[in-house]
Every structure is written in structure tokens, then in C-alpha cells.
Amino acid sequence: MGYRVETDGVKAEAQILGRRPQLAVRLGERVHRVLAASAGEGEFDLTVDGVRYRGWRCASGDEVHVRLNGRTYRVRLERRGADQGGASEQEEVRASMPGVVVAVHCASGAHVEAGEKLLTLESMKLQMTVVASHAATIARLHVAPGAVFERGALLVSFAPRKESES
């Protein structure tokens, strides 16, 4: 598994090649021998290709900010989105258990973004909010506040999406 890393705008691929006698990491075109000594919180003490580097580092979002010899570097590890398999686009919302509609947050014909609230339902003394799993246009709302529904009941239909080129 390679790591794609970007430092101050320069991208490179980092690959661990070996671990003995020292950790060998290929960064872009070059292979570096790395020895990490333990250091305090936020500090690092690395020997790279025989040269010792001591400095500070701190995580900031998906970046690590590194302070080394009077310069600050921003190192970003490219991570895949925490999408958990990507949302698949459903065309309708059905009730997973029986309950009653407490509130409706959208309207027929409205366009909603992923994550936008659609309905608030109550089942078994527990309120749940149903959100849109993807951006879509609401074709029809099949329930109104106060409506009682069974498991599997159709609550919201989305307008079919046009085929997009990918």
C-alpha cells in the first residue's frame, strides 16, 4: 500500500521498502533511511540518511504541520473519503418500523442536498430524523404530520435521476 502525500503543494508517493537495519522509505524518486528516536509530546527527533532533524509537529485537520529549522511545512496525507462504500442512490424512503410522523422538513418538488433533514418520526418513544442520503428532488411526500404508518410504508419518493457520465 502506498501513501500519497503532499508537502507544501508538492505531491509524492511514499512507500515503505524495508525495515532493517533501518526503516527505508521511498519518497518520490529517492529512498531514505529513517531512524526515529522517541521525543516529547509534539516533538520529533529523526535521523534521515544520517542527518539528525529535531523539530515539532502537530496535526491540523487532515494535515500535519511540521516546524523544522525555522520553517513550517504542511504535510497532507491523502486519505480516501470516509464514505463507507459510498451512498447508493435510492429513489424512495420507506419506514423501517411502524410509527408516527412528528414533523415534515421538506416539500414536494423541493431540491434537497445530501444530509438535509426530510422527516422527524417517532417510534417506540424514540424520535428519529430521516435525512436525504444524496442530493435529489422530492417527487412526492406521502405523509403529513400526525400520519401513522406501518413498517415498509412509503414515506418519500424522489424524482428519478438522469444518468450522469462518470
Binding site: 529513517v34 509537529r57 496535526a59 523544522l68 529549522n69
Partner: protein, 488 residues
């Protein structure tokens, strides 16, 4: 002397004022918005009062709550710092009406100097040079008369400052539109759409004079500061004294400032700002009726505490020194450390300060309002701290300041620390060839240097901070780690 003072501000200036209060043995009260509940200035005060507001900055602008806090804590005086309510004449009046002392000049002078057009007229009356200009209420007439001043012109907001509502017009055909847009912007930002036009001076230097007055007619100047290094019309490096300034010119400028303050019957601290043209002509810009961000460079070369002087004057005391007592020694430079990305046009940045290590180099001073773990949000100004260095010479001061920036560790939010180092090492800066367009003129050279030799080490340090990478690197058992990438 006051027994208790409330500081109506936040961040580094609140911390700085509170430090002087503590040193003087005066009890202190801080105010804060919920967003600032972990801010360092709360720790430096003896007590803190929470202000309620939907928007954090609104809290520090809430006159009624602040005055109520002063009364509730029996604070005898309020120090407004800079920004926020520091130049709000109405606030100064209300404070006085409430029985507190406003640490600053009186409301009338604040109003005078707050209106840029009135201030200019007043300055001209005192024989203080003003740039050829055009004051016209009617925008159409302003455009028509533009030729009187000559191009290029600078259109400025009468009620404004900080670079907002300012526009440079180089060609006559742009004039009408520029006046219109400037007026709209001024209306939006300051609630007052009045604009005026001034001759635009190319490559001007921004020279300002620090003043202290006792309100009884005694005014001293604390010499000049140069604040030419600006981006987006905001100062980022200031120094005292101004380099390469002939003694006679210095004297003229400082005398002009004193003349102005005297005539206005000024009280407490203030700064008169001038534009110095390459031909040696200087022109009045404006007067700031408050303590300025860059006051530490003056304190460094004169070895005094301006806030202490402010307190003394506000408490009815006389000036702590005469003009003859003031002998500037050496050179001081300050840089403003801001949460921004210079490589993206100084775009303000947000984040959380993960690590803060302030170097303890001799003859340096770090005025910060931040601590490790603090969130930097768009709620407040992007300036995080100031770093000041003093040296026997300008070169020594620049070197010390650059060295301090080199040692400073502020990680977690992007900042201009590396950029400031590059400015301080630039040969043209060191030669003192300053003007307000300096940073734009040398932008290419000041932009980040090409791939530095240590980028690999930094990248590896960053990679090894990642838990997943570390696990893959170190968590492989023997003999596999020793056999390595073998395939049969």
C-alpha cells in the same frame, strides 16, 4: 491612582494592558464572550465578567453591558485598548456619565479626529501639511473638479479607515465609477457614504508620531515609527526610528504632530499618521485617538511603559517625563503574526493552535493573546501575536527578530511566520528602502522559496505522525521485518 480598571478588549492587547495593571498592583477586570472562555486574557485578570451576544465581536462592542460590568465590579476606569470601542466618542461619553474614567482623550477630540474630512481641515488650519485634496459633498462635482488635484487620485471614506472604501484612480475615465463604488463601500462599512479625494502619492512611506498629552496643554512626542510594510492596507512590520530619515525632517514631522495635538487640547495617548513622499514632502493622513498596535517599538527604544503613562494621565496625573527626558536608543522592529496564508494572497486561516513555543531570546518581546489548544476562528481578527526585537542597530534588530521568528513554534493554524522571516532578510528591507508598496513590489521574491532540502525530512516527520503509517512501519514482526520484500 485607580484601584480597579476594566479592560474592554480581548486578545493580545487585553493581555498586554492587564500585565501593566498587575505590575502596578491595580486590580483588574476582564470581559469576555463565551467563544473566548478559554482565552489567556481571563487568566491575567483578577476577575472576569461574561458578556452575552450572538456574534462574538458584538460582545466587545456592547457599550451597555461593558459599563454595567464596570459598575458591578466597581471598576473606576475602563481601558478600551485598540479597535472595538476605542475610538467611539459616544462610548467615551457614556462611560464618563456612568461615573467611570475613560482611559483616553475626551469625546469631542475623538469626534473631531474620527471624521477624516474635519480632521484634515483642522490639521491644515494648524499649518500641518495635508495632501492636495478635494472635499466635495456632491460626487458629480468631485469628479468634475478632479483635475484640480491631478491624477493619480486616492478616493477615501470620510468616516473610514483600515483601507476600506479606498480606491486608487489612475485614469480619468475610471473616476466616476470609482467614486460611486467607494461611496457604496463606505456606506456599507461605516454607515457614512461620504468620500473625499486626495492626490495619490507613489511609493509613499507611512510615518507616524506617538504622542502623550496631559490635557492641560502639555504634549510630548515619543518620536516616530515607520509602518510602511503593509498588505491589504494593514501594517505587518513596524519599526522605530524610521530608517534613513534626515534629522531635520524628523523634527518637522514630530513638531507638526505636537502642534496638532496641542491645538486639539489632546489628552492621553494618540498617534498622528503621515504620508512621506519620495521628494521629502510629508502630508497629514489621520490621527488615531487611542493606543496603537505597534506601540511596543516606541516603548523599546524609549524604555518606558505607555500603558502605565496612560493610566497615570487618566487618573489625573501629569506627564511622567518632559521632552528632554526622552532619548531614543537603538532600534526596535515589530512584526505582526497573523493566522493567514501568504501564498494564497494572505487569505485568513482558521484552525487550532496545537503547539506554541515562544523563544526566550534576549531583547525580544512576545505580546500574544493565545495559548496552545486555542481555536482560531473567523469570529475575531486574524492577528495572533506580535514579536518585537530591539538592537543597537537596525541590522541587529532585524537579525534578532528574524532569529526569534526562526525559533518560534506556532503550529496548528497556518501563519505568516516564515513570510515575515523572508521580509526581514530581504536586502531591500535591510537597506531601508521602504514604501507602502514594498510587499507587492517584491512579492515574487518573498513568495515561498523553491523545494527546500529539508522537505523530505519534514514529510517523513509528518508521515510518522500518522498512526496508520507508524503501525505499518513498526508493527511488522520478525523474521518478516528482517526478510523484507522477498518473493519466491
Amino acid at each position: 491612582m485607580f484601584k480597579r480598571v476594566l479592560v474592554a478588549n480581548r486578545g493580545e492587547i487585553a493581555c498586554r494592558i492587564l500585565r501593566t495593571l498587575r505590575a502596578q498592583g491595580i486590580a483588574s477586570v476582564a470581559v469576555y464572550h463565551h467563544e473566548d472562555r478559554n482565552a489567556p486574557h481571563l487568566q491575567l485578570a483578577d476577575e472576569a465578567v461574561r458578556l452575552e451576544a450572538d456574534v462574538p465581536t458584538a460582545a466587545y462592542l456592547d457599550q451597555a453591558q461593558i459599563i454595567a460590568a464596570a459598575r458591578a465590579t466597581q471598576a473606576e476606569a475602563i481601558h478600551p485598548g485598540y479597535g472595538f470601542l476605542s475610538e467611539n466618542a459616544a462610548f467615551a461619553e457614556r462611560v464618563t456619565l456612568a461615573g467611570c474614567t475613560f482611559i483616553g482623550p475626551d469625546a469631542a477630540v475623538m469626534r473631531l479626529m474620527g471624521d477624516k474630512i474635519r480632521a484634515r481641515s483642522f490639521a491644515a488650519e494648524q499649518g500641518v501639511p495635508v495632501a492636495p485634496s478635494l472635499i466635495e459633498q456632491d460626487p458629480a462635482r468631485l469628479v468634475a473638479r478632479a483635475a484640480e488635484v491631478g491624477l493619480p487620485l486616492l478616493i477615501k471614506a470620510a468616516a473610514g479607515g483600515g483601507g476600506k472604501g479606498m480606491r486608487i484612480v489612475r485614469r480619468a475615465q475610471e473616476l466616476t465609477e470609482s467614486v460611486q463604488l467607494a461611496s457604496q463601500e463606505a456606506q456599507r462599512y461605516f454607515g457614512d457614504g461620504r468620500v473625499y479625494a486626495e492626490r495619490f502619492i507613489e511609493r509613499p512611506r507611512h510615518i507616524e508620531v506617538q504622542l502623550l498629552a496631559d490635557g492641560r496643554g502639555n504634549v510630548v512626542h515619543l518620536f516616530e515609527r515607520e509602518c510602511s510594510l503593509q498588505r491589504r492596507y494593514q501594517k505587518i512590520i513596524e519599526e522605530s526610528p524610521a530608517p534613513n530619515l534626515p534629522a531635520s525632517l524628523r523634527a518637522s514631522i514630530c513638531d507638526a504632530a505636537v502642534r496638532l495635538a496641542s491645538a486639539a487640547r489632546y489628552r492621553n495617548a494618540g498617534t498622528v499618521e503621515f504620508m512621506l513622499a519620495p521628494d521629502g514632502q510629508f502630508y497629514f493622513l489621520e490621527m488615531n485617538t487611542r493606543l496603537q498596535v505597534e506601540h511596543p517599538v516606541t516603548e523599546a527604544v524609549l524604555r518606558l511603559d505607555l500603558v502605565a503613562a496612560q493610566l497615570r494621565i487618566a487618573a489625573g496625573g501629569s506627564l511622567p517625563f518632559t521632552q528632554a527626558d526622552l532619548e531614543p536608543r537603538g532600534h526596535a522592529i515589530e512584526c505582526r503574526i497573523c493566522a493567514e496564508e501568504p501564498q494564497h494572497d494572505f487569505r485568513p486561516a482558521t484552525g487550532r493552535i496545537g503547539i506554541l513555543r515562544v523563544p526566550e531570546l534576549p531583547r525580544t518581546r512576545f505580546d500574544g493573546g493565545i495559548r496552545a489548544g486555542q481555536a482560531v476562528t473567523p469570529a475575531f481578527d486574524s492577528m495572533l501575536a506580535k514579536l518585537i526585537a530591539h538592537g543597537d542597530s537596525r541590522a541587529a534588530a532585524a537579525q534578532t527578530l528574524a532569529a526569534a521568528l526562526h525559533e518560534l513554534v506556532l503550529l496548528g493554524v497556518p501563519s505568516n511566520i516564515d513570510y515575515l522571516q523572508r521580509v526581514l532578510r530581504h536586502p531591500r528591507f535591510l537597506a531601508g528602502e521602504l514604501h507602502t508598496g514594498f510587499l507587492s513590489e517584491h512579492a515574487a521574491q518573498l513568495a515561498a522559496p523553491g523545494a527546500p532540502l529539508e522537505s523530505a525530512a519534514a514529510t517523513l516527520a509528518g508521515l510518522l505522525a500518522d498512526e496508520d503509517f507508524r503501525r505499518v512501519a513498526y508493527d511488522v514482526p520478525e523474521p518478516h521485518a528482517s526478510i523484507g520484500a522477498w518473493r519466491n
